[in-house]
Symmetry: C3
Subunit: 269 residues, 3 copies
């Protein structure tokens, strides 16, 4: 566990450099709330976002992407069809993809879609505690979904789910836990004001996508993405007066991230 | 009338506290232009926004919500089906819902949808003068829709519509008028720069939704929501250099609203 | 060529005044990423944006608009149907319309839609070098699409395409080239940070729409729109610390544009 966190930390600046040098295409099938803010976060970081979500286009775009991000935020049958197709294609051609199971466990339709999407072998899944507990319940034998879940429970669920699916699973919150089923990396960056900006979790997932496009160690890549966003969020919060200015400062901070800032601030254990 | 305005003013800080204490779920079926900005306004205020707009999901989410917001901004047949279903369900289970009749009277399709939605008994309707005049024309006996309407005419239409539908009706503009068909409350807060930010009316409607979730007096709740936004807009305008910074400052001001600020600035008559 | 640039420059402040005096309705059929940011840019400039994209509504709205903007960003079959209908109607009733062929040449579906849309005689087309090269290939006899295209090649393609279609064609980049097939105007305004904000090209296209609504000389209108955005972007970049603050400052700068600023900064050749 110490080894995994140390490896993720050691490769963090290198991954950021690789994103900026390679400007990987990150294909997003996302939602109407965060399409703009996640595209801006990816651009500020140095990646190249592409939002294409029609069944007429995703099969063609997925193979050209460095990573695929699927976010269930404002799902409908039309979007779900494109998500299934894109995830299937990503798995087939070896493009890493990351799932953001927004509100899974709360709404039955998207929970079923998420369960189906898991068959297409995501490289990573990022959710909050209740979303991960819910996904774990679907994937296995009757684990309960508890909206008053403790984070310790979510970490157990995440480890189990990661092993079952063969994916990296991240539970984000005050502390983020990232696991491949064996090792667990804790990310202690971030700021309490961040959840007051809509779609901050969605932004985290998109940034994980950018890191997956350049770092083959998926556990490291996922932890690095969450750490990079957390560091930028901390810097932004120091300058912000509320959630409006936080959002602006966050993009500026992502743009200004460098090896020195990451070395000083990254808290991975 | 004085009594209604005084009661709304007296309960304003209590309603704000109730939003922050209870973080009511505000379910929005809204449009691609303002989904992000209204979610951010609700989060900054202290509510919990959820954007779900598929017919596969709205029946399940509506009963879990403290209020439902239906906004016709970028309506299509798909969205309209979800709106009808959600409004019907909200009425059936007693969740207060608020209608934003964007551009009703200008476009025939959405005008028909709006007329149908009125059957499902909104708790409140918020529109500009021409939208309310148009809705009143549809609901009743041949009232004309006039794009050069005077606000006095719109207030009469609002009173008539409120009585006919059994809803609170708000006409927003330089002065906002809020009526239940009997009393009329005037809200004199706000700033002329606010309409230069897209979807400011949509944001007003969403915030009214948050207040309806915590305040049973719907006339008071609607006036309180408009007043809270107007006060935040005034503070933001004092700090802004244009519509870009206004939008940022508005979210910071909503986040910082408190009883003292409201006591000093609220202008309800 | 000198004459065309000089005419565009001479009429720039007059066009801006006409937008502010007439607040032309600019009808946008755009995408989920930039719907908010382009609406805000149009409002900040002084125009009146309307986003309506349903086949149930576009036929009715197009004739009421001063200009129509069609942007292929997140196209699907549903959106494509509305775009075809709106473009057809705009051509029939004489409303100038502008095409933003986002990612044409990369994805086959939207490339086919774009080729079909060209039949409805856009007043202007604005794209980056590879999009314009791709459109030129579709419209004519086997011109290749080259993602490593030089701008000189794109200018030739733009001239050829403009002549073939009878539209003004703009290739934007570090320098923008605007041509009607004969004259070529160069716009030397703008800043390298601008492409780090998502949808800046989409914003350019929307602003060109606003200028087309008030200026009958389409070559001049297109160059003026790109120049106005470039000037605002330069001012914003002087105040910004990164892409987050650039976006905010850009809206403030568009709002504050005036004849004096344009006279000092406009660089049209």
């Amino acid at each position: 566990m110490d080894g995994a966190a140390a490896a993720a930390r050691a490769g963090l600046a290198r991954s950021l450099d690789a994103i900026r040098a390679g400007t990987p295409l990150v294909h997003n099938i996302t939602n109407i709330v965060v399409a703009n803010s996640t595209a801006n976060a990816l651009l500020a970081l140095g990646a190249s976002p592409a939002m294409a979500e029609s069944t007429d286009e995703v099969e063609e775009l997925v193979p050209a992407a460095g990573a695929l991000v699927i976010n269930l935020g404002t799902i409908s049958a039309t979007w779900a069809a494109a998500m299934r197709l894109a995830a299937c294609r990503a798995h087939a051609v070896g493009v890493p993809w990351v799932l953001d199971p927004v509100a899974v466990g709360v709404l039955a339709y998207r929970s079923r879609v998420a369960a189906d999407l898991l068959r297409h072998r995501p490289a990573a899944i990022r959710g909050n505690a209740s979303e991960i507990l819910s996904l774990a319940g679907m994937a296995g034998a009757g684990r309960g979904v508890d909206s008053t879940a403790q984070s310790a429970d979510a970490v157990d669920a995440a480890r189990w789910l990661a092993g079952e699916i063969g994916a990296v699973v991240a539970v984000t919150g005050a502390v983020d836990y990232v696991t491949d089923g064996a090792a667990v990396i804790e990310v202690h960056n971030g700021h309490p004001l961040m959840p007051r900006v809509t779609g901050m979790g969605c932004t985290a997932t998109a940034i994980v996508g950018a890191f997956l496009a350049v770092e083959r160690d998926r556990l490291a890549a996922t932890a690095q993405g969450l750490c990079a966003l957390g560091v930028a969020g901390e810097i932004a919060a120091e300058r912000a007066r509320g959630p409006g200015s936080l959002q602006v400062e966050l993009l500026d901070a992502l743009y200004a991230l460098d090896a020195g800032i990451l070395e000083t601030r990254a808290r991975l254990q």
